[in-house]
């Protein structure tokens, strides 16, 4: 396979499209009466302008986006439109928070894996609800996962005002995670935590699984042509799909628990700024390639870090970056459509 070459051409294309998207952003800024150069330079500074910006803003945002992006990729590869990474991420964070209360005096190398595991299992269980609805009752996962996102969001809101609220009962949030149970910081003086290494390992593992293992191949076959997978491959399609729901939810739940143990150290109401939704864009932009997801998550991390800086330093509302992200997705989808058909003669 020409994996490397296709990876390179994809990267090149994403960069070209990014340039187009930024040009469109410039036009948008002009149209809304902002000064283009200061705004864009604030954005670039916010994302890459300093050691701190790169490590503590851009890369740190990449972590949950990449894990949730992997969750979306796995589901989409199996032909499952899991829009519920956001909800699975939230229940993952909530489960990790709940677990942290039972870990007093436990060393970090046991406590952290326990919290991450609890988050992953909770995320998987949350996705399994949608999976069961789909496979047992034919409820479309697009609908059920969106609904479950709302449930997870309000569940979090209730938890931080009820069972998981900090003991003083003043703020709607959980108690801060004990320092010895926080994810180790990799570089002194930054927010860069060990979750980055985890992301890289998980991405490679997912890539290897989909590409090299029998069960990963089954998942891809079911996503490509379920009828052929069943007829020619003897593949148990519902079972494979349920497995994809589980793994997808597991990865999203992991994203939530990594964010909790690595960055926020507490659960609160707006715990996720829509990471689970942005993850869909991250996965699509990477064309569902697990390693590509890490790269596009970094790009989106940079865009979001830059957006905040642009708002702070140039007074441009950070939502304009959402416009750029959306444009980027549309451009990628359009570019895919434009590709000349590789299909030779299909008739005769």
């Amino acid at each position: 396979m020409t994996t490397l070459r296709s990876f390179a051409t994809t990267t090149a294309r994403v960069l070209v499209l990014l340039a187009i998207a930024i040009a469109m952003l410039a036009v948008l800024l002009m149209a809304t009466g902002h000064e283009v150069i200061p705004a864009l330079s604030a954005m670039v500074r916010g994302a890459f302008g300093s050691y701190y910006a790169i490590t503590s803003a851009t890369i740190v945002r990449m972590v949950p986006l990449a894990l949730a992006g992997l969750a979306v990729s796995v589901a989409f590869r199996a032909g499952i439109l899991n829009i519920g990474a956001e909800g699975q991420l939230l229940v993952g964070a909530a489960a990790a928070t709940a677990m942290s209360g039972t870990l007093g005096g436990v060393p970090w190398f046991i406590g952290i894996p326990v919290m991450l595991g609890a988050g992953a299992i909770a995320g998987g269980a949350w996705a399994a609800i949608a999976g069961a609805l789909r496979l047992r009752f034919g409820v479309l996962e697009v609908i059920s996962t969106i609904m479950l996102n709302f449930v997870a969001q309000y569940l979090t809101g209730w938890l931080v005002r009820g069972p998981l609220q900090e003991p003083t009962r003043v703020n709607p949030q959980s108690v801060t995670l004990a320092p010895e149970l926080q994810m180790p910081v990799l570089l002194e003086g930054t927010r860069l935590h060990a979750g980055v290494l985890l992301v890289v390992m998980v991405a490679i593992a997912v890539w290897w699984w989909l590409r090299r293992t029998a069960s990963g191949f089954r998942l891809r076959a079911v996503g490509a042509t379920p009828t052929a997978a069943a007829s020619a491959g003897g593949i148990d399609v519902p079972r494979t799909m349920f497995g994809a729901f589980l793994v997808s939810g597991l990865l999203a739940g992991l994203a939530g628990s990594v964010e909790y143990t690595g960055i926020t150290y507490a659960l609160y109401e707006n715990f996720s700024p829509g990471y689970g939704y942005t993850a869909i864009a991250v996965a699509l932009l990477a064309r569902l390639h697990p390693l590509g997801v890490v790269a596009t998550a970094l790009l989106f991390g940079a865009l979001e870090a830059g957006a905040n800086a642009m708002q702070r330093d140039a007074g441009v509302p950070n939502v304009v970056v959402s416009v750029v992200e959306a444009l980027l997705i549309l451009l990628v989808l359009a570019a895919d459509r434009w590709r000349p058909s590789r299909a030779a003669e299909t008739g005769t």
């Binding site: 090299r212 029998a214 052929a228 997978a229 007829s231 491959g233 003897g234 030779a344 003669e345 008739g347």
Partner: protein, 515 residues
């Protein structure tokens, strides 16, 4: 029934049409002239460029070189709607209908303005009646047998007032009676002053119905002649690119089969087969579908190692369900079944049931047995296995890494058959093995099936083409209305057995052959 060729004016003229897909030259200066009032057969082997040329005419592809004239004026078709506006319609080999919609709704698609079900239905009824086609506008397309779906496609084109109708392999999916019906209809349609381009592999169809014949070979026009001035031998020679055709070698085409029968009677004697062990066995097996209809009714069948059992049936007689039960793809609702653990299966719809079109060939090879595989997949082993299949079954592809979609239908079929034969130990079930294949590819497929039989495999073949059933099989069965009956190994006997049942089918099932 070669009719005297009318001397109609030239309606469509193509000259020097060239089109390349990547490095592959699909059309290389092809030319074609279609006269008003004529049926024009466009012949050629797999990948000769027939469909590609007609896609250019229909505006689906833009020729890179060459000229096209329509009613004497130069023209370039920009899109199918452009072609329809000029009065050119096309019925594709793979239908383009929305299964969940009614016939009327499908025909109204692509029209303009409002949609009035009643009015559209009336119009469909009118168009169909004028064209002499039986079609219920209120029927849901997914409930229709394939012949009626095809009539729906034709009426869809006719509703747009086309004068040139392109039909791509229209008889490939039809039972013999339906095919005859369609050919007769084509003749009448052309006689009314219209024109038909018939893309086909079937020489007999072409010679029976066409006024003119054009043969393509490797994207070039190699023969243009009035049908009455030629014969099967000459056309076959042209299709093979001018090579001398020794009839014994080209025999398995459905059209030259009659002459081939003598040569084939040298196959393994039937007596030998009875001494061999039974591999596939059904005892009073029934299959009830989701709607509660018995598709297979108490079928009993024993297939021994080293024999080919052929099944003839009209569409909807339960043959597809029976084959899937034999292949282990479906469980019987009643009765006993004894089959080996792994039975090779070549389904008729390879795009839906056999291939991952956007995956490389080696992954398609690996699909067989994927359900039970464990651990890490050794892709290089599958590449090697795929390369062996490509070589052994003469699949024309750039290699194991080629994407399945880029192969022509015949090569896709050979890949599927090769894969199933390599993997299946004792038994193989094949559904319409030569659907959409030219006679060279058909020959290769038939030879592979016979080799499998001679190597001791139990083979079951269903084909909508009775000639093919009789030609391949050692024993034949007719299926009608879910019942399986052994028949004499004779085309007429089999056809009668199958059709006498068909009368029963249409009596209590409106979706019979003439729905």
């Amino acid at each position: 029934m070669v009719t005297t060729a009318p001397t109609g004016a030239v309606l469509l003229s193509l000259d020097g049409i060239t089109h390349t897909f990547g490095r592959m030259r699909a059309l290389d200066g092809a030319s074609l002239q279609v006269r008003a009032g004529s049926v024009h057969a466009l012949l050629g082997e797999n990948g000769a460029g027939k469909t590609t040329l007609m896609r250019v005419v229909f505006g689906l592809l833009r020729a890179q070189q060459g000229e096209m004239h329509w009613r004497g004026a130069p023209i370039t078709m920009r899109s199918p709607s452009d072609a329809l506006a000029h009065g050119i319609g096309m019925v594709h080999q793979h239908f383009t209908l929305v299964p969940s919609m009614t016939v009327a709704e499908n025909i109204a698609l692509g029209g303009h303005g409002g949609f009035d079900p009643q009015q559209t239905a009336d119009r469909v009824r009118h168009v169909a009646a004028r064209a002499g086609l039986v079609l219920d506008p209120t029927a849901c397309v997914q409930d229709l047998p394939v012949g009626a779906q095809q009539r729906c496609e034709i009426v869809k084109a006719l509703a747009r007032d086309v004068t040139l109708l392109i039909l791509d392999e229209p008889t490939a999916v039809l039972a013999p009676t339906e095919a005859t019906e369609l050919l007769r209809w084509m003749r009448g349609y052309a006689d009314a002053g219209n024109a038909v381009v018939l893309i086909t592999h079937k020489l007999r169809d072409a010679l029976a119905v066409a006024d003119d014949i054009t043969v393509l070979h490797r994207g070039r026009t190699v023969l243009t002649t009035p049908a009455r001035d030629t014969d099967q031998g000459r056309v076959a020679t042209a299709m093979l690119g001018g090579a001398t055709v020794r009839t014994a070698e080209v025999r398995p085409d459905s059209d030259t089969r009659d002459t081939a029968h003598a040569a084939l009677s040298v196959g393994p004697p039937d007596a030998v087969a009875t001494a061999r062990p039974i591999v596939l066995a059904l005892d009073a097996v029934s299959v009830r579908d989701a709607a509660g209809v018995d598709r297979v009714r108490s079928a009993t069948l024993q297939v021994r190692a080293g024999e080919i059992v052929g099944i003839g049936a009209v569409e909807g007689a339960g043959q597809h369900e029976l084959l899937r039960v034999l292949a282990g793809r479906r469980s019987p609702t009643a009765g006993r079944r004894v089959i080996p653990e792994r039975v090779g299966f070549v389904p008729e719809d390879r795009h839906r049931d056999a291939l991952l079109l956007d995956a490389p060939l080696f992954e398609n090879t690996a699909l067989q047995g994927a359900g039970a595989r464990r651990g890490v997949v050794d892709w290089n082993a599958f590449r090697a296995r795929t390369a062996a299949v490509l070589h052994r079954f003469d699949v024309r592809a750039s290699g194991p890494d080629a994407v399945a979609r880029t192969l022509s239908g015949g090569n896709q079929q050979k890949l599927v058959l090769g894969r199933e034969l390599e993997a299946a130990g004792e038994a193989l079930v094949v559904e319409n093995p030569s659907r959409g294949l030219d006679f060279v590819a058909t020959d290769a497929v038939h030879r592979a099936l016979r080799e499998a039989r001679n190597a001791g495999m139990a083979v079951v073949v269903y084909s909508s083409d009775l000639d093919e059933v009789v030609l391949l099989a050692d024993r034949v069965f007719a299926m009608h209305n879910g019942t399986l009956l052994e028949s004499a190994k004779d085309r007429d006997a089999l056809g009668r057995a199958m059709l006498s049942g068909a009368a029963v089918v249409s009596a209590d099932m409106p979706a019979g052959i003439d729905a």
